[in-house]
Each structure stands twice: as structure tokens, then as C-alpha cells.
Symmetry: D2
Subunit: 138 residues, 4 copies
Amino acid sequence: MDDMETMKRFIDRDRYARYLGAEICRWGEGYASARLELREEHLNSVNTVHGGVIFSLADCAFSAASNSHGTVAVAIQVCISFFKAVSGGTLHAEAREVSRNPKLATYMIEVSDDSGSLIGLFQGTVYRKSTPIEEIIG
Amino acid sequence: MDDMETMKRFIDRDRYARYLGAEICRWGEGYASARLELREEHLNSVNTVHGGVIFSLADCAFSAASNSHGTVAVAIQVCISFFKAVSGGTLHAEAREVSRNPKLATYMIEVSDDSGSLIGLFQGTVYRKSTPIEEIIG
Amino acid sequence: MDDMETMKRFIDRDRYARYLGAEICRWGEGYASARLELREEHLNSVNTVHGGVIFSLADCAFSAASNSHGTVAVAIQVCISFFKAVSGGTLHAEAREVSRNPKLATYMIEVSDDSGSLIGLFQGTVYRKSTPIEEIIG
Amino acid sequence: MDDMETMKRFIDRDRYARYLGAEICRWGEGYASARLELREEHLNSVNTVHGGVIFSLADCAFSAASNSHGTVAVAIQVCISFFKAVSGGTLHAEAREVSRNPKLATYMIEVSDDSGSLIGLFQGTVYRKSTPIEEIIG
């Protein structure tokens, strides 16, 4: 319960997620899901969702999943593939942990559109610090 | 001159770049530079710039550089490494073309802070369509 | 049946797979599995399997899966994460297709050890040519 | 001098590099170069150099460069792009350090053919252990 509260406060502190419109829907040990309702300001020059928006939504889920074990995790390297251009509706991101040791952890995040089609796949690795999350959110 | 004008209109159509605050400073055949003045809304839960912001700035430079040859280029796979957490000032992104054939091209984008320190390195590949840029911006 | 025969001949032509000791165990439309019995010559300076060996085994499965649709596919960008160092036994790679259109396709390849632990994760994208596989194997 | 000797012994212990035919030509703090004379056993099903060979050569240079600071470094995530298919001659890899802190470091490795054309670009990150190299090579 305390952990849930701590994590909720951690997530609420993400100013960029809020500015973008990304919402963390669910989270737990090693996983998280997020979503984003597409608006005009998420589009690129060819009227489809900007790659930066797809990455950012996935990154929000990645952050929630990787910071779910009580200590701070920082992203070190990420690979993302883009499969399909979309222009509207809601994007959904699901993060799951594929590997974790005391210092490093790796997550896969699938981003899909309203029809359930995969539009992006994000493979990211974090470095796990020893700093407690609680210390950060003060 | 016409090409410069076309490219300028292409860049101006990027709604997300504008929302984020990213500005394309220079562009030409196979290169581009961009910058972003950091504000409160670019920060993550630990008060440093969100990875999504660093990626997005680099992605704007990537888009300008890869769409500079007259036809539409779409991102297919990107790798990004993060080196240093920053909290303020201006971020700078420099994109250069490392390979290009009629169908594919790859770019490296360096993101640095005001002190000139490298904070991220982005390696991205595009698929080059035959659609003229002019057709898109109508 | 003819397709199976063609694919078998395609796989048999891979001189490096044979030199390495990698064996394609199963293959079909959009998937493939491969394995490698570890030997002394697969080790690096710290007596664990060389990253190049893990990548190469995954790459063999990636090649079989991505060339399974009748036309030649060439790798354009790959990301690989390494999770665990192993020194002996057999490595297993499983490739599955996560996205495919007429020009591009993306595959995830999981590499595991004899205990079933994930030791690497490979996310790779190919460019799909129009050249028939049969034309290549003459 | 002692360091040079230690590093030479570290490099000589790489059984897979020897089996593949990869040779470390030069090395120093944060850099290394390697080369490989192409032979029949380096080819794939379409008679060009196997992606696993290009990766492996780059990985040998990556290993030498990242282990050049006296302590053991292990690869955690790598991205590689492939630009050009070659079938013979010698491949050359040049590794340079782009970022390093006490726990993590990132390297770019360029792989080129005899004509100097870039055929692959490798961006790799290591986790830096505290184990001295000397302890490993006993």
C-alpha cells in the first residue's frame, strides 16, 4: 500500500508525461501500461503521429515499470522500431520486464493503436541506482 | 531557393516540434541542427530532462536531415544512448547522414548541452519513399 | 513441399553458420529456431561465450525467418541486449515475426541457454527485395 | 608498458576472434582497430559477408577499446546498421569511446571495406565492473 502510494507520487511528478498527455493506467512490479489520446499537437509534418510521441509514450511506461522495485532506474540505451503511421485515436503502451539483476534491467514496450495493431516496439535498458524512490520524491 | 522554401514549409508543418519547443536552426542536403530551451514541462519524475524530450529533439533533426533530398523519408528503426542527466539550459542536436541509397538512409544525431557535453547519441534509419515532399505539403 | 526444399537449400548455403556450428532446427513462414553447441572456439577473453557468437546464432534464425516468404530479405538494423554470461552447453534461438509489409519486416529473436534462461534479446529489421529466393540459389 | 603487456595477453585469450580470423591491430585507452581477411567461411546464403561476421569484427574492437582502462567491461546493449554487402577483401573496424563514467561507457565502431566505404555502424554500451583485467588473465 505504501509502495503503491510512493509509486503514484513518483508518476505524478512527471511533468513531461502530463504536458504530452500520457497517462499511466496500471503499474506494478516490473510492468506498467500507459495511454495517450492523440491530438493535433502530436502530429508531424506528414500528418501522422510524430516518432517522438510514440517513443515518449513508451518511455513513460518504461520509466514506471523500471522504477517499480523501490530504487531509481535511469535509461541508458533504447532501440525502437516503427511499423505503422497513425493519425488519430488513442495509443496504448504495455511495458514488461524481460531481465533484471541488481545493476541492470531490460524492458520491452509494445505500442498499439485502437485497432490493436502494433505500431512500435521499444527495447530499453536501465541502470539501477541504489537511491530509494522515496528519497527522490521527498 | 525553391527547395529551401519547400523544406521550410515542411518543417513548419511539424505540430509536435512546435508544441515541444524544438526549433530547426539549420538544414541542408543530409544534415540539420535543432535546439530546445528547457522548461519545467520537459522534466521527468527525478527533475531531469525526460528521455522522450531528448529523443524527440534528435528526431526533429533526423526528420529534417532525412527529408532534405526532395522525397518523403519515414523512420523505421532508431537506437539512442543516454549519457548525462541535465535539468536546464538549452539542448542542441546535430544530424548528419552516414549512409544513403535510393531506398534507405542512416543518420547519427548528437545531442549536447550548453557546456558542449554529449548527453545522447541517436542512430536512426529511414525508408525513403518516392513521394515528393511538395506533394505532401500541398 | 517445393518451398520447403528451396528453403532448405537456401539455409544449407550459409557457410558461416556451418563454420560457427549453428544449426537451423525448424523454419516456416515468419519463424525459425536455431541452436549451437558451445565449444572452446566460441569463448572470449573472460572465458564466456563471445557476444559475436550470441549475435551470430540469433542472426542465423533471423535470416531463416525473414527469408521464408519467397523473396530475399537483407538486414538493415539490429539491436541486441545481453543478459547473462554462459560458458558451455547449448544455445537456443527462436525467431518470430512481429511486423511485415511488402518492403520491411521486423523480428524478435530470443536466445536462451540450456536452463531456459534468456541470455540475449535481438530486435532486427530487414529490407525485403523483390528477388525470388530461387533465383539466388540457382 | 605493463599495461600494454596485460592488454596484449587479454586480447590473445579471445578464442573466438582467432577462430573467426579477426586481428586487433592497434589499441589504447578508449580505442582499438581490428581487421579481418574475408574467406569462404565468412559468407552467408547469398554469397555476401554474414551480418554475424560484421558484428563480430566490430565486437572485437569494442571489447579491446572498452577493456582498455584496466577493469573488465561487459557488453549490455548494441545497435548495428548494415549499409553495403561485400563479398571479399579485408574488413576494417575502428572503435572510439564516446562516453564513459565509472559504471558505463559507450563506443562507436565503424566497419569499412578495402575501398574505405562504410559497410556497418555499431553503437555499443558496456557495464564496467570493478574486477581488474589482471585478475582475469591470471
